[in-house]
């Protein structure tokens, strides 16, 4: 695959690892490098990058999986909507098995609810056009990579004059939670591998405030193994030099200013809000709400339902996992009561969850 397979050369990877090892050999402490993107989590596990790192470099995962950071009451809300008559829930596949307080969407589907996995929110718009008598609710989750596609679907539904397309929104936005984590004394994050495709939209400049406020290096890094290794090397170089700046490893895609058109799309449909992150709590300016002009598409407002009282699963430590405070192996449920086949917490459900990645790639007994 062009623009992907070239960045997987094992010979170069070995050399990069050797370079990184030599670079940090004299470093007196441990550098904690955090990634905040589920695709990075997967790449690091899939390619065994953690095991290749010298003792001076510790790689941890932050709240980068949008499914995992979605609060349980959102899932309960989606379940309640799926029980409405004449309603189709359209969703990305990751949401199907996320446990709500007493059910999940897959179970609701087995009970007769119409829940459909779609590849694009535009598929949900097409469903709405084809089924004018049915209410279509798209589950709008995801970071800035995905949110513009949902904004685009809303504009498309408006253009087609559809009155039966709605979005239950729980979008999250990136730089602010990184600031919260950077300021957490327990974590001691030394640098961020900043997300690849989120940054394609928001631009590398979006991290300048974080870098200035927290004096923490940020390197926008691609998802292929050589990208990740190069990103780690760039972070290590900054840390050793005592610098803190925003750099772009993933320059074939990410620009300083980002994708202005996608940013405009976001600003047209959404407005920043204070969002609740599972395991972290409310973070100011870290989510997206509908602009009043697009309130007609807001499922939470337009389709009132009674949502059960939310109960977090007992013993689940997804919250601490999402903050990077513990590794999956430190959770008493991991690989015992909580497995991908029968997940307890969201981090084990989504294929990009830290626990699912650790389970799949064998970081367990």
């Amino acid at each position: 695959m062009k623009h992907a397979s070239e960045y997987r050369d094992p010979a170069i990877a070995r050399k990069l690892v050797a370079e990184i090892t030599a670079l940090v050999a004299a470093y007196p402490g441990v550098m904690t490098l955090m990634e905040v993107c589920g695709t990075h989590t997967m790449a690091i596990h899939q390619h065994g990058i953690r095991a290749l790192m010298p003792a001076q470099i510790r790689l941890i995962s932050g709240p980068g999986c949008p499914v995992c950071v979605t609060p349980i009451d959102y899932v309960d809300h989606a379940i309640a909507l799926s029980r409405r008559p004449q309603t189709i829930i359209a969703t990305f596949g990751d949401m199907m098995r996320v446990p709500g307080s007493s059910s999940n969407l897959l179970r609701e589907k087995a009970r007769g609810a119409d829940v459909r996995i779609v590849y694009s929110p535009l598929d949900a718009v097409a469903l709405a056009e084809k089924n004018p008598q049915v209410t279509i609710v798209f589950l709008g989750i995801g970071f800035e990579t995905t949110a513009p596609t949902i904004a685009g679907s809303i504009l498309e539904a408006q253009r087609r004059g559809l009155k039966n397309y709605f979005v239950l929104g729980a979008h999250k936005t990136m730089p602010t939670p990184m600031q919260v984590l950077a300021a957490d004394p327990e974590l001691q994050v030394s640098g961020f591998l900043a997300p690849a495709h989120v940054s394609a939209i928001i631009g590398a400049d979006a991290y300048e405030t974080l870098v200035a406020n927290c004096h923490i290096p940020c390197v926008v890094t691609g998802f292929e193994p050589l990208d990740v290794l190069l990103g780690i090397r760039m972070l290590a170089e900054q840390i050793i030099a005592g610098e803190a700046k925003v750099e772009i490893e993933y320059s074939r895609l990410v620009r300083r200013e980002g994708n202005r058109k996608a940013q405009q799309l976001l600003a047209q449909v959404f407005v920043p809000n204070d969002a609740r992150w599972r395991g972290i709590g409310i973070i100011p300016n870290s989510g997206l709400d509908f602009r009043p002009e697009y309130g007609d598409f807001d499922a939470a407002v337009q389709l009132p339902v009674t949502v059960e009282e939310s109960i977090e699963p007992v013993g689940c430590r997804c919250g601490d996992i999402l903050k990077g405070k513990i590794a999956p192996q430190d959770c008493p449920l991991f690989a015992r009561r909580c497995t991908p086949q029968d997940p307890v917490g969201a981090c084990m459900v989504s294929s990009e969850g830290t626990c699912a990645a650790a389970y799949k790639y064998g970081d367990h007994d």
Binding site: Y7, F143, T149, G152, P195, A200, L230, L253
Partner: protein, 76 residues
């Protein structure tokens, strides 16, 4: 979830392109990018082209990586 695939633009019809990678073809909406041309590589996410790939930057990164291989630092 932010996974996206680099695909080559095969045809463009208004706001919709057909893109291809490894023999797989898909429709992609172009509302988020400007000045896209046939044979450009674009990054596809959830049915939308979210950004164009910059060929010269891609070459530069690859050159950097190959340079690592050429000189490199030998491990102990």
């Amino acid at each position: 979830m932010c996974l996206a695939v680099p695909m080559r633009v095969v045809t463009i019809d208004g706001e919709v392109a057909i893109c291809e990678i490894d023999g797989v073809r898909r429709e992609a909406n172009l509302m988020m990018i400007d000045d896209v041309a046939i044979n450009d590589y674009v990054l596809i996410h959830a049915g939308f082209a979210i950004e164009k790939l910059d060929e010269s930057e891609a070459e530069e990164t690859l050159r950097l990586m190959r340079e690592v291989l050429a000189q490199g630092i030998l491990p102990e």
